[in-house]
C-alpha cells in the first residue's frame, strides 16, 4: 500500500482533525486492483473471524480454586459449548484460547510462558479470576501480580471466583474481539 503526502491546512488545527500522523502521509489505494483485493480481504477476514470465534478450542491452565467455577461453566447448566468453546484440549498445541484459571506464582511463570509459546497462531488468552488478572488478594512475595507480567492477555474476567455468567460474558467479549480482528488466509511475501 502506497502513501500520499498530506497537504496540511494552515492555522491551529485540532489534533483529532489532523491526517497522517507525524510523517504527513496517509495510506491510499491507487488502483482498482488494490481496491478489489482489499474488498475480498475484508470479506475473507470477516468469514475467518466468524469461523474462529465460534470454534474456540481452549486450553485450561487450572492452578487454583477457580477450577471449580471453570468446571461449572463447562458443565451442563451453563454449558460454554453453546458459545462455540466446546473442546478443552489438554495440549496447548491444539488450542486457540489459553484460559489461565487460578493463581500464578513466580516459580510457575516460566511454565505458563512455555505453554503460551507452544500454542499455534492465532491464539488468545483469557485471565480467569482476579488472581490471574492482577494477583488478587495474594499481594505477597510469591504470587505473580497478574499473568500479563509474563504473556499478553486479551480478556480479563474478574471475580473470586467469577460466576459462570461472567465467564460467558468474557467469552462473548473475546468473540467480538476476534470478529473485528484482521484474519488472513495466508501470509504472502511481496517483493
Amino acid at each position: 500500500m502506497k502513501t500520499l503526502p498530506v497537504v496540511r491546512p494552515e492555522g491551529n488545527v485540532p489534533e483529532s482533525a489532523r491526517l497522517g500522523g507525524e510523517e504527513g502521509n496517509v495510506p491510499v489505494l491507487l488502483s482498482r486492483l488494490k481496491e478489489s483485493i482489499g474488498f475480498f480481504e475484508k470479506n475473507l477476514s470477516s468469514a475467518l473471524g466468524w469461523a474462529r470465534k465460534n470454534s474456540i478450542f481452549q486450553y485450561p491452565f487450572v492452578t487454583a480454586c477457580c477450577g471449580m467455577e471453570y468446571m461449572s461453566a463447562m458443565a451442563g447448566r451453563y454449558d460454554i459449548a453453546r458459545f462455540g468453546a466446546e473442546f478443552p484440549r489438554f495440549t496447548p498445541r491444539q488450542a486457540d484460547l489459553l484460559m489461565i484459571v487460578g493463581t500464578i506464582n513466580v516459580k510457575q511463570s516460566p511454565v505458563l510462558k512455555r505453554v503460551y509459546e507452544q500454542m499455534c497462531e492465532p491464539k488468545w488468552v483469557m485471565a480467569f479470576g482476579v488472581c490471574a488478572s492482577s494477583g488478587g488478594f495474594y499481594d505477597n512475595y510469591a504470587t505473580l501480580q497478574g499473568a500479563d507480567r509474563v504473556i499478553p492477555v486479551d480478556v480479563y474476567v474478574p471475580g473470586c471466583p467469577p460466576r459462570p455468567e461472567q465467564v460467558l460474558d468474557g467469552l462473548k467479549i473475546l468473540q467480538e474481539k476476534i470478529q473485528t480482528q484482521l484474519h488472513r488466509a495466508a501470509t504472502v511475501e511481496k517483493g
Binding site: S109, P110, V111
Partner: protein, 216 residues
C-alpha cells in the same frame, strides 16, 4: 498430661526449662542438646512421629518467654517496627513430637540469637525432618548443620531473602525467573547449565544420591 515427658527430659538434662501453654507442654533446651533430647524422646518415650518443625521470628514481640512486659512498649504503634525494641534471642525453632502409642505430645523448643542462626540437624532420627528443615531454612534462613541437602524447598534458588521473617518487606517483589534446563521437574524445559540430556538424578534437586537408572 505430658508432664511425665518433661520430667523425663529434665531428669537427663537438668537445665532444660519446662513450661506449658494452653495445655501444650513445652520444654526449652539448649541448642547443643537438641539432638540428644529428641533422640531420648524418640527412643524412650516412643515419640515416633515428628509432626512439624516450625520456626518463630519474635523480632519485637515481647512475650513471657522473652523477658516479659519490660520490653513491651505500648507507646510505639505496631506498624512502626523500626522504633520498637528488638527481642533477643530473636528466633525459636520448635519440634512438635507426638507419640501415637501413648497419645502424648511434646514440643521441644530451641532459642536462637539472630547473629548465630545454626541448629544441628535431626535428619538421622526422622526422615521427615529432611523437608521440614529445608522448609524452615527456606522461610527463615535458619541453617541446619549437617543436613544432607539444605536447599530451598518451596521457593526457587534465585529468591533473595527469607519471606516469613518479620522484617521481610510486605510489598517486596522478586524479579521474574528464567526457565531451567530440561531435567528440572518444576520449572520446565529450557536452555540452562548442563542442558537437556543430563539425567534427572544428576541435576534435579534432592536426587543426588539416587541410582540414576532408577529414574531415567
Amino acid at each position: 498430661m505430658s508432664q511425665a515427658l518433661v520430667d523425663l527430659v529434665r531428669e537427663r538434662f537438668p537445665d532444660a526449662k519446662g513450661s506449658s501453654h494452653r495445655g501444650d507442654e513445652v520444654v526449652t533446651v539448649r541448642r547443643e542438646q537438641v539432638v540428644d533430647v529428641v533422640a531420648l524422646l524418640r527412643n524412650q518415650a516412643e515419640m515416633k512421629l515428628l509432626r512439624q518443625i516450625a520456626a518463630v521470628d519474635l523480632l519485637t514481640f515481647a512475650g513471657e518467654s522473652t523477658g516479659g512486659g519490660a520490653l513491651a512498649s505500648i507507646e510505639v504503634p505496631a506498624y512502626a517496627l523500626e522504633k520498637k525494641p528488638r527481642v533477643e534471642p530473636r528466633f525459636q525453632v520448635a519440634y512438635n513430637l507426638y507419640s501415637i502409642v501413648r497419645k502424648q505430645s511434646l514440643r521441644v523448643r530451641v532459642e536462637l540469637r539472630s547473629d548465630d542462626l545454626k541448629v544441628p540437624t535431626i535428619t538421622p532420627l526422622y526422615r521427615t525432618a529432611d523437608w521440614w528443615e529445608r522448609y524452615v531454612f527456606d522461610m527463615f534462613g535458619i541453617e541446619f548443620v549437617g543436613h544432607p541437602n539444605l536447599q530451598r524447598l518451596l521457593l526457587y534458588p534465585e529468591f533473595v531473602g527469607y519471606p516469613l521473617r518479620k522484617d521481610y518487606p510486605v510489598r517486596k517483589r522478586q524479579p521474574l525467573v528464567p526457565e531451567l534446563d530440561f531435567p528440572d521437574l518444576v520449572r520446565g524445559p529450557g536452555p540452562g547449565p548442563g542442558g537437556a540430556g543430563v539425567p534427572m538424578s544428576q541435576t534435579h534437586v534432592g536426587r543426588q544420591n539416587v541410582d540414576p537408572d532408577a529414574y531415567d
